[in-house]
Structures are given as structure tokens and as C-alpha cells.
Symmetry: C2
Subunit: 443 residues, 2 copies
């Protein structure tokens, strides 16, 4: 008995044949364990131990070749070595609390984003902060050195997996590059693939070599191949996560014309400037549309795009009427909204101060029976789906502030600052264009 759990000295002592064996033992013993597993009839192994191909010089060994031979002989498929294991949110779909987890520290929200990664960190540690990420995880596979199961095998699995809607990859080396690209081309018209590829720089080459024992390829060749296969490439881990979050909503813009709604000039200018640099178009709205919008703003507002409502406190207009008018116009394909969301809550706090409260004269725009987020943000989300126009909300308050949490609870996509969402929107539009072109070809 180990740590209170029943234990056996060897695999052969176990009365049943295990469905899955997880190996965390010194590398020297691993071939023997594989042999015993094979003889027992085990077909699946997760090999977490390190100390195989990544060792060089006088520490170099042939253990990898040994276990590969044994696995082949017995028909064993295995992940690793030098990996962090696997995570599966859907082991029993009917039981929401179930998960098969040898990899991620904290239990994750169940969802449709699946990962295959040559870095254990990308497969697990980035989820140390689940509160900060409205991202449901489906599967996560840490591949380590890929002595057997590689990233192409994972793609093949995710391709047909109905619990995978978006695929995230971390790649240091592609051993079967042609197979990878063929598969990626088949997948990306239906399911987006987001990839972090590291290579190209000298330091990265050296780091990759000591990490997975691979030789990273030429970054430019990878870039071109990924582009052709419709793979969304990023170098930033937060963008990787942002894109996963955004793509699982499956709301695809029809073009790249961005409408910007703010209650504040500076952020509008910054969003517009950055958006054009990232390849989005921020079109000037037609006179006709501007006239329609006039109804919903105060005279100091600017309507050309960015729309600057200049701190008007009419939330009904801000959250619903203005975006709805934009969506119906056909003049824009995506919307970003910067504003001091939840200002009303802030006011409520202010009103607690006696000196202010006794002079209260704020119009009560809120019906008493429905929370503000259900009244304002939920209808906005419905419009977003109906018109297939993604909407990103930006709230300068902390992502975990009470009002931010309320917005997030509706399923809306929320950011705290405006740099990340602009870049994320640009990549979403790019991918959407790729999908559209392909489907037009097929017609």
C-alpha cells in the first residue's frame, strides 16, 4: 500500500490488465517496465520519465530505441518520454466532475479546446490561473520527445473528435511535416488550428535541442507552410489563449471591417490606429448610418467610427441600440466596445456615502427584477450570434472585479486593455477570410 492506495510490486502482479499505465520511473528501468506491460497485454502507456533523447555527450543513451522496439513488438502505443502526461475533461461526459488528469495542476472548466504540445508547460502550467481564463478545456496531450505518438497522431484524433472544436499546438519540430500539412489542410476548413512554433533564432535552436532533443526547422518555411494550410500562427502565449477562447464561440466575421464603440476618445483612437496596423479596416460610417445612430447619443458624441458616446450614461443605447444599428447596417463585420462597464455599480457605491447620497438625482435606468448584465449583455450576445458579428468588450477594471465577472458570466468575451483584443480580432478575421475563400472554391 502506497499513500493509502493499494499497490503491486510489478505489473504482472496486478490481477486485471490495466487500460492505461503511467510510468514515472528512472529511465534505465523503463525498458523492463515496457516488457512487463507488453507481456501483461497493456496497450497504452504514458511515459513521463525524462532522460532519453534530450541527453547528449557522455550521458547519451539508446534507451529510446530499446523501448520503441518493445512497444512495436507488443503493439503498445505510448506518449512521451519526458512529458507531463494527459488531461481529458470528457472521460465520463455524463459526469461533469470527472476528468482524467495526469498533467494539469488545477481542475479545468470543461469545454472544446484541445491541445497537443511538445512543451509540458503549454499543456499544463498555463492553466495555473483558471479564474483568469473563460476557456473550456477538452483534452490536453503533453507529447515530450514523441518516441511513438506524435503531433500528427494527435491531429488525426482531434480531426474526428466531436469534443474538439478548436485545436492548439505547441511545436518545436515536425517529424512528419508533409503528413502534418496534409492533415492540417483537411482540418482547418472545419476546425481552427492555433499554433505556437518556436524556431529560427540561434538561442531557440539551442534551447530546443536541450529541451526535446529536436532540431528546430527554418522558421520562414514553417511560416509559409502554416499559412498555406490555414494554421493560425502566434508567438504569444496570451494570444494563443485569447484565440482559443474567441474561436470556440464559433462566431465568424464575414469581412474585416471593424466598428469601434467607446465612451472615451483616447482608447478609440488607439484601437483604430492599432487595428489598421494589424490589417483591419476601420471604415468611416455612411451619412445615413450616422443619422440613424444620432438617436442614441448625446450631441457631444462622435459618430464617424470610432463612435465616441462621450460618457453618456444611457446603457440601453450603449450596449444594445448602437451595436444593433451597426450590425443591421451591413457596414461593419466586427465590433469592439471600450467603456467603463458597470459604472452604475460604481455609482451605487458612491451613493452609500451619505453626503453624496442625499443629493442623488441619477435616473434609474434599471428595472428592478433583472440583473444589469442579463438586461444588457445577454441581448448583445444574441445579436452577435444572429448577425455573425463578433463583439469584444473591454473593461478597464480588473478582469476579476465584480462587474467584469458579471459580464463574463453571460458568456461575453471580455478583455481588460485594448492591445490584445485588437490583435486577436485581426487574426480571427484572417482565419474567417481563409474559411470563406475555401468554401467559395468548393461551390
Amino acid at each position: 500500500s502506497v499513500m493509502g492506495f493499494k499497490a503491486y510490486k510489478t505489473i504482472s502482479d496486478v490481477p486485471e490488465t490495466p487500460d492505461l499505465v503511467i510510468v514515472i520511473l528512472p529511465p534505465k528501468i523503463v525498458p523492463q517496465i515496457f516488457q512487463e506491460c507488453g507481456e501483461k497485454g497493456v496497450k497504452r502507456i504514458v511515459l513521463i520519465s525524462g532522460g532519453f533523447r534530450e541527453l547528449t555527450g557522455d550521458r547519451k543513451n539508446t534507451l529510446r530505441e530499446e523501448i520503441q522496439k518493445i512497444a512495436e513488438k507488443f503493439g503498445i502505443r505510448f506518449i512521451g518520454p519526458n512529458c507531463l502526461g494527459i488531461y481529458n475533461s470528457w472521460i465520463y461526459p455524463e459526469d461533469e466532475t470527472s476528468a482524467l488528469n495526469t498533467a494539469i495542476w488545477e481542475k479545468q472548466q470543461r469545454g472544446y479546446f484541445s491541445i497537443a504540445s511538445q512543451s509540458g508547460t503549454l499543456a499544463s502550467h498555463i492553466f495555473f490561473d483558471p479564474d483568469n481564463l473563460d476557456l473550456g478545456i477538452s483534452r490536453s496531450l503533453s507529447l515530450g520527445n514523441e518516441a511513438d505518438i506524435d503531433i500528427v497522431d494527435c491531429l488525426e484524433y482531434y480531426k474526428e473528435d466531436d469534443k474538439t472544436k478548436v485545436i492548439g499546438l505547441y511545436i518545436e519540430e515536425l517529424k512528419r511535416a508533409k503528413d502534418f500539412l496534409r492533415l492540417a489542410k483537411e482540418i482547418t476548413p472545419r476546425k481552427p488550428i492555433i499554433a505556437i512554433y518556436v524556431g529560427g533564432s540561434q538561442a531557440a535552436q539551442r534551447a530546443v535541442k536541450s529541451h526535446t532533443g529536436s532540431l528546430a526547422g527554418n522558421a520562414k518555411i514553417y511560416d509559409a507552410a502554416f499559412k498555406e494550410a490555414g494554421v493560425i500562427k502566434t508567438e504569444l502565449v496570451l494570444e494563443f489563449l485569447d484565440l482559443a477562447r474567441v474561436l470556440t464561440t464559433e462566431i465568424y466575421p464575414k469581412g474585416n471591417r471593424l466598428g469601434i464603440i467607446t465612451n472615451s476618445g483616447g482608447p478609440g483612437v488607439m484601437i483604430a490606429n492599432h487595428a489598421e496596423k494589424q490589417g483591419l479596416v476601420v471604415p468611416k460610417l455612411s451619412e445615413e448610418l450616422q443619422n440613424q445612430l444620432k438617436e442614441y447619443v448625446i450631441p457631444t458624441a462622435s459618430l464617424k467610427n470610432p463612435i465616441d458616446t462621450t460618457f453618456d450614461m444611457n446603457f440601453q443605447n450603449y450596449y444594445i441600440n448602437i451595436p444593433k444599428t451597426l450590425m443591421q447596417s451591413g457596414e461593419i463585420d466586427a465590433i469592439m466596445m471600450y467603456g467603463v462597464f458597470g459604472f452604475q455599480d460604481v455609482l451605487k457605491n458612491l451613493l452609500k456615502h451619505e453626503r453624496v447620497a442625499k443629493y442623488e438625482n441619477f435616473p434609474d435606468q434599471v428595472k428592478k427584477d433583472l440583473p444589469l448584465e442579463k438586461m444588457l449583455v445577454s441581448p448583445l450576445l444574441k445579436l452577435s450570434k444572429k448577425y455573425s458579428i463578433p463583439v469584444f468588450l473591454i473593461n478597464p477594471q480588473n478582469y476579476n472585479s465584480p462587474w467584469s465577472k458579471k459580464i463574463r458570466s453571460t458568456g461575453a468575451i471580455l478583455f481588460q486593455y485594448w492591445d490584445r483584443p485588437v490583435r486577436c480580432m485581426a487574426k480571427l478575421c484572417d482565419y474567417s477570410q481563409y474559411k470563406k475563400k475555401l468554401s467559395e472554391k468548393i461551390k
Copy 2:
């Protein structure tokens, strides 16, 4: 009496001459208020009201010219119109709780970062989340339309201000570009200037026009001029804040050679790859240095740079011995450390589980009388200052998690992911090189 405070009908009714008048009234009345202020002897006005130069077409007016004339006649200097006001952390330096604040929602930590901004948001709203920013604020000036006091006046003030160590600017237009550049050149050898300049794109032009009524200039010309004057340019608001935080520590690297310490391969690879793309050098460490480092790592570690300690739990080595050896070597100028900081705390939680705890066999590396962060992070900070080698720490846990807060409490620079710190480090090294070159010229 208004809201419980004593009030007067006009400025002339006030018994004393006010040091400062803050005007939040409809634009039409503003000239009259200025006249009254002038007659009363008021010399300083903050004009928050909008509705001046930013209005166009049939709403265009000459109010701006009217108030300028009155101000000139009476020798009044004023900020605005269409601004959010001012913030001053140091109104009574001896009283830590004091601040003059017409601009920022929540009270800020006192510090040495001063802002002058043509966007009220950049001067105030970005501080809605003070818990998430270890950045002390000195002054913040929201300039609005700059009818009188402009960004050059602010630079002149900050140049000699002993409470300003780092200057942050948000610029849509420079009315006195030559004066600005001359002043910037004088300031940047002593105090860094970080600037967000928005312009160049069509949408930005339009947005700027309706925001401050300015015509944004050619972005390329600005880029070149800023570079010559040593101004650190960024387009990202988080980078603006990161740089402010990092520069106020006044630890300047002597070159751009980055040492990377991790306990995990993937992040090391990603940091190295991104760092080289951002212009940093990630040098392979000498054999001699690698031999010195061997003492502090386990055999599976990689020592070439990135240094990957592969989840060794010896915190004394990770936080102190390895960085110290790097610093003393003269082979690197800056350090980034990615690791699961506070893992020991995590273990403590684990040990609370009875089933695990009774098999406890973790070596206790912690003296009982000193908190871990004082034992580990504080000495690291001292080394960083001594060798003038900046150290950025990266903890994948939430920025406000208990261990992150402990690290931050020591004054260390902490990030959650590795994209932002790499870019920030690259700009810090650039600025440091600029400073160094200038001081070599003078010699």
C-alpha cells in the same frame, strides 16, 4: 450649500482668491467664468468642460479663442478644455494620505512616474485597477485640447521636478514639435520618456480629429524624431505601464545579453526565441561558467542558456546561487526567470491532505523564522542592484495569487506570462544603450 459643502454663486462672492479653479460648466458660460476668475486674481484653472475645438460643421464655435484672449489678458495659465483634470500624489509630501485629485477614480500608490496625456483615459482610467500594477504615480496631467498648457509645458515642468523619475506621454499631435524634441533630448539622458503616439492610419486621423480636434502627423516622421531624441515609443498600453514600472527601479543593463533561468523547457525556448526576435542576444554560456553552475543543478538540467533546472526544488540555488553566478560572470546583462514560484506553498496545501501528508518526505529548506520571500527574493533584488542587472520574474499563477503578492511585496518585478516581459526587457536594453552612448560621447 451643495452636497453639504459651502458654495458661492459666483467666483467674486468667494472671500479669498482661490489658488486653483476647476471649471465643469457648459462651454458657453466658460468665457464669462474666465473673466470673473481674472478679475478675482485667479492664476490657475483646470477647464474640464468639452465642446470647443473638437466640434465641427454647424456646431463649430470660437469659444476657444475667446477664453485664450481672456486668459492672456489676466495672465491665467490653464489646462484643457475637454480634459479630465489633474492628479498630484505629492501635494503634501509629509502626509502620505494626501493627493490632489480631479482625475483618477481610485487613490494611487505614491511614486515617481508622471504622466502628461492628450487622452483623459491614459491619464486616469488605466488606473482603475491599481491592485494589478506595482507602479507608483507622481503626477498625471490630462491635457485635453491644449488651448493653453501643452505637452511641452509639462515636459519643462517634469524636467526639473524631483518627484518625477520617469515620464509617460500620450500624444495625438505636437503643436510645438521642435521645442518638444529639443526638450526631450535634454531630458532623456537623465529621465526616460515613454510615449504612445497615435497617428499614421486613416482611422486614427479621423478619430484624432473628433477627439482633440487635432490633425495627427505622419507616424514615420514622429518615429524617427522620437528615436533621435531617445524617446521610448510603444503602441501598447500594457507595455507603457510595464516600462514605467521597470524604469522607475533605475536598474540599467550594461548591454543586451539575456540570461534565462527556468524550471521548464518550453517557456525557456519561447523566451529565447522571442528575445532574439526583439533584438536581445541570448548568448551560449562559456564552458567555464557552465562548470561553475553545475554545482547548483541536478544532472538533468541544461546549462547552455536557457538554463533549465528541470523542476529541481532547491530554491536557494534557483533564486540566489544561479543568478548570482550569472551576474558575477560578466557574460550576461539581464536575467529573466520563469518558474513555479511558491511551489512550496502549493506543497503545504497538498500536505494538508491526510493521505498525502502521512507520507511526507519533502526536505525542509526553509528556516522557520523568515518568510520565504525575504529569504529568497530580497537577496536577489540586492544582487540585481549591486550588479546593475535587471531581473524579471515570471510566475504562471495569477498576479494576485498569495505567492505572487509575496514576491511583489519585496519590490521585485513580476509578470504572469513571458510575452510582455521579453518585449519590455528589449526596450529597457535599447534605452540603456542610448543612455550609455550619450554618456560616452560626453566623456
